[in-house]
Amino acid sequence: MKYIILLFLTCLSLCLSQAILAQTASSDPPAEAALVPSEPPAPPGNLTLKDLPNDDGHGIAVKWDLSPDDGAGAKSVISYDIYRSLSPDAPDSLWKKAGTVVLGVKSYADKGNRESDNDDYLPKKTNLYYRVYAVGAGVRSVAAAAGPVQAYDNWFNTLKVPELIFCVVFLILTVRFINMAKRGIDLYVRPLAGIEAIDEAIGRATEMGKPILYCLGIGTAGDIATIASFTILGRVARKVAEYQTSMIVPCIDPIVMTIAQETVKAGYADAGRPDAYKEDSVYYVTSQQFPYVAAVNGTIIREKPATNIYLGYFLAESLLLAETGVMAGSIQIAGTDQVSQLPFFVVACDYTLLGEELYAASAYLGREPLLLGTLKAQDYLKAIALVCIFALLALRVFTGADVIHKPFDMPWW
């Protein structure tokens, strides 16, 4: 219980910080004006500079008060120009234009370049001076000047506190449950049809005397879905070796191929049949999406594998592979974290691991306490997410909900 309350509070704080961040990120509403003047607008006032927080030491935060003619007065401001220089009284040619913002905006994050030979180089720990002009139609105001200011390195990004909290909570939970599992406390996991099917599928392949095709998707070793797929591949290879069937693993990337070879070899060794492993069963095809599909489709139709397993990162080839597998009469098990491809796998394959199930599969297959522990930790974090959503909604209802059409404004497409 203690834990839950603690977790709840941490989540609350992190979500609040998110909400505040979201608020500050939104820009001011557009201002209205109506006149065309030809004389220069009044300059912006009260220019303040400070080191840009949470950066690599090459940024300055510039703030000013809107020109009296911005949206009011003569309404003649179109935009603001921000200039920087190393000396307060340098000639105009030595003032570098750092940026432009449209009317109504009163701050600018001047993120300079970190390389000294770059045109936009912003030196670290050096006195810098700034000028901001209000720009009208073909004219600009006198400058608002300020300085000096220096840019510094930061050693911790305070905007990332939420992630840190979550990482720590996750780590603590994982360790706790792993210890529980090691002590022999039985951790229940619900059955997953797709994973149980893997066992049956390997048995079926043995009966039919046909191979199993394992496709790691088109991700590189840099995709976490591919890495999750390796962890499953190891266990599938072990079972394949135990059942004395064969497997085919076509790969789209040489590094993926290399890791897959090690994984399959280890699986065979685990099953006590290291000499049954054939190096050519895990091979490289080509590094492009459609040629890879063409080759795998050819393999499927010619070898007629008893089972096709597609786990990892997939794009448009999901349906191309899965339908060819249907033609070949294979049992098909798929899984990916790509939401856009799940519909095709769901429609064309016999079993589909949806999103997180892909990551959970290795724990299911291995049934080792260490792995089941992380599974339990994942569930707890999901519970925390649920509680967070509930709590924040309650908060909004009780404190007078502000009407924002969040679902329609989010770029989640």
Binding site: P29, P30, A31, E32, A33, A34, L35, V36, K75, I78, S79, V102, L103, G104, G136, A137, G138, V326, M327, H405, F408, W413
Partner: protein, 302 residues
């Protein structure tokens, strides 16, 4: 003629398959492939077009342009790139035809750097040959592209001349007669944005149409259309979504102004194979279900 042949071939085939599957025979996947390929091919060869009927969301844009008094001021913004062009360019061309046919004043502009060249293609391929009487500066003008995304809208809603000292060809705005009574976007009668990305229709609504209370319409690629639906009917008077929306507009245009009939309506033509293929796929789903329920009933009886 083509329609009859296609209808007989495809319809007859589908009926035959339905009959077979009711009798309990399974349909081979190759038959499905054959039907999909044949329908698309027939539709392309015979240039089949179907009577697209404008849905209210499209009809309202059409009616707006149709019913505005001649000489109304309309902005048409090209907010797309060549990748999106096949889908949305037909909309832009249909708008040009319709607007000039109704003798409105047309102001071209673009929030996308890539829109500029597509815009000049439209000017040269559609506007100049089909409306030789339209005078530059009187009936239409091209403001061209200005950098600044929605910031541009922020400015032109208060004043055009601040953002556009001159048009795309370097003429000062005051030298163009059509700008005589135009101060800002607020003097416009209708804003139309054609595009599918950002900035696009949504930005026109949020930064121009809404704050200035100006009627706004849009055309967008199919991917982003669902995102824009929420703005209709209040903030957007209408919306053309993807090839389908464009085809509906073209159909409406041909119906009201038959002289465009032979101008080649790319969206309508594209919808032919699409419609046919969808009919075939839906028919197969129905056949599959009929066969399934029949076999299940048989299973129960025995």
């Amino acid at each position: 003629m083509g329609l009859i042949i296609s209808a007989v071939v495809i319809g007859g085939g589908l009926l035959w398959i339905l009959y077979l599957s009711i009798k309990g025979q399974d349909v081979d996947r190759r038959i499905v492939y054959l039907f999909v390929g044949a329908t698309v091919a027939l539709a392309i060869i015979f240039r089949l077009e179907f009577g697209e009927v404008a849905t209210p969301i499209v009809k309202s844009v059409f009616d707006k342009i149709e019913n505005l008094p001649a000489g109304s001021k309309i902005v048409l913004s090209y907010d797309f790139d060549p990748a999106m062009a096949p889908e949305v360019n037909p909309m832009a061309n249909a708008f040009i035809r319709h607007i000039l046919e109704k003798k409105h004043r047309l102001f071209f502009m673009s929030l996308w750097a890539t829109g500029q060249s597509l815009l000049s293609v439209s000017l040269n391929d559609v506007l100049k040959p089909e409306f030789p009487d339209a005078k530059y500066g009187v009936d239409y003008c091209n403001l061209g592209y200005k950098a600044g995304n929605e910031g541009v809208l922020n400015v032109v809603i208060t004043n055009f001349r601040k953002m556009f000292p001159s048009d795309a060809n370097g003429n000062s705005l005051d030298s163009l007669p059509m700008f005589k009574d135009v101060e800002s976007l607020k003097d416009m009668d209708l804003l139309i944005s054609v595009g599918g990305g950002k900035p696009g229709v949504k930005e026109w609504v949020l930064f121009a149409g809404d704050p200035g209370k100006i009627a706004t319409a849009g055309g967008s690629a199919a991917v982003s259309t669902p995102l824009l639906y929420p703005y209709w009917p209040r903030q957007l008077i209408g919306l053309l979504g993807g090839t389908k929306g464009a085809a509906e507009y073209e159909a409406e245009l041909i119906k009201t102004h038959p002289r465009f009939k032979d101008k080649g309506m790319p969206a309508l033509r594209m919808m032919g194979p699409q419609t046919m293929a969808h009919v075939v796929i839906i028919a197969f789903i129905v056949i599959g279900n009929v066969a399934y329920f029949r076999s299940r009933r048989k299973g129960k009886q025995s």
